[in-house]
Amino acid sequence: MEQLPRPVPIVVTDMQGNVHEIEGADGWRAMEAIRDNGLPIKAECGGACACATCHVYVDPDWLSRLPARSEEEEERLGDAFEVEENSRLSCQILLTPELEGLKLTLAPGSEP
């Protein structure tokens, strides 16, 4: 029998400051988990790293536990605003069991 992907709960703060504990899963993109849980995220290119409208800030405690930005993501962040050291495109964050509890905050430009 095929195994269901392991749940990876994450914590997302929206742009109004409300904190949401949402369910992701191993192998999902953080953007997909945010979108699937009905939080407001534009993500207009659908995950192709082509638009920068899924911009998030990563909680500083979690930053070192994520793989570094790819060159493509680095370049695409040029289309985002208020880019900080902890800025990421959430479509480029692949959820794994190690990221259970990952804390993200929706950033400017991600609003639908």
């Binding site: 659908g46 370049e75 208020e82």
Partner: protein, 354 residues
């Protein structure tokens, strides 16, 4: 006319046209609608805000592989667009590009009139909205008070280069638009500076090299920094405050800011077309993909019905069923015979293969 639209029937703006079907949006689904309508002898005109067909496929991910187009195990956004253009070529659709469908009204005779922001009018018995996520418009940086400078000192595109002649110009961005305009405007601006948030540029390497050569010759200032504030009065910019990681805030005196942060999709005037929008989508039936207004159809990502999946392949199916219904509206007296392209000589003649 450019290489991207060569061979297409692209019309000059500002004229009045009459056709069978007006299609708003020239993305993959709008392009396939030409084909399905064409098989039923319906002529169409397409309106799109971009300067070439393809919509999101060519604007957002021309080089990205798509894996879920039936029969094409892998195809890029650009290749899919090229294939769809080839497939629809026998039907000679007219294109109205770099224009936004701005108004929709119905004449007393029951003809739809679609008006664009450049004054083009397309009159048709049927209107098909295939506008995806809406119109691509420039992203505006969330700098407080920027609206006061827009159109006088702050621009997101270049309509006439002369507007920048003799001006102190700051250009923001790291992509092709930012770099191309930096290179083009450097000779005519009195001073020119480029600001980008990192010392790495997405633009074509050749443009980046040319830009760096201008910096080396001291003809261009390059700031690796973020825009913090716009300074000036009465819509006239006097300087822009930047913030660099090491040196903190500093002012760059300038008269004009050109900001290139890519495009984003906005629904725009379609929201005012009386479509009973449901969360910015057009509710349609699943028999004809017609809206609550007879003669007004919506196909592709812009429509909504129970179970809707925003996939290109769903839009293709929707285009086929829409075309059958459009035929009955345009030619109510004609009997439509269901035919296959594999076996119908009549269809093959239309396609130019028999």
């Amino acid at each position: 006319m450019n290489a991207l639209t060569s061979g297409l029937n692209v019309r000059e703006p500002g004229e009045v046209h009459r056709t069978d079907v007006a299609v708003i949006g020239a993305g993959p689904v709008g392009l396939f609608a030409i084909f399905e309508l064409g098989l039923l002898d319906l002529k169409c005109h397409l309106i799109d805000i971009l300067d070439r067909p393809g919509g999101q496929c060519t604007e957002l991910y021309p080089e990205k592989p798509i894996y879920d187009i039936p029969g094409l195990p892998v195809v890029t956004g650009q290749e899919l667009t090229d294939r769809l253009l080839e497939q629809s070529r026998p039907f000679g659709a007219a294109y109205h590009l770099q224009q936004m469908a701005a108004g929709l009204e119905r004449t007393p005779e029951g003809i739809w009139r679609v008006t664009t922001d450049l004054g083009t009018v397309v009159e048709a018995k049927v209107v098909v909205i295939a506008a995806g996520g809406g119109s691509f418009v420039p992203k505006k940086p969330p700098i407080p008070g920027i609206e006061a400078f827009e159109g006088s000192s702050v621009f997101y595109s270049v309509r006439r280069m002369d507007e920048f002649r003799g001006k102190r110009l700051l250009i923001a961005g790291g992509g092709d638009s930012a770099l191309d305009w930096t290179l083009n405007l450097a000779p005519i601006a009195s001073e020119i500076a480029l600001v980008h948030h990192r010392d790495g540029f997405r633009a074509a390497p050749d443009s980046v090299n040319k830009m760096k050569a201008l910096v080396a010759e001291d003809r261009l200032k390059l700031h690796i920094a973020k825009i913090k504030r716009l300074n000036g009065e009465g819509g006239q910019l006097s300087s822009v405050t930047l913030e660099a990681k090491d040196t903190g805030e500093f002012d760059v005196p300038c008269d004009r800011l050109l900001a290139f942060y890519g495009l984003t999709m906005k629904l725009g005037p379609i929201a005012e077309f009386g479509l009973n929008l449901h969360e910015n989508l057009v509710p349609v039936d699943t028999e004809k993909f017609e809206s609550s207004t007879p003669g007004l159809f919506a196909i592709g990502d812009i429509n909504w019905y129970p179970g809707k999946l925003k996939l290109i392949l769903s839009g293709f199916h929707e285009a086929a069923l829409m075309a059958q219904a459009a035929k009955r509206i345009v030619h109510p007296d004609q009997r439509v015979i269901f035919q296959y392209t594999t076996s119908s000589t009549s269809l093959q003649k239309k396609l130019g293969v028999a």
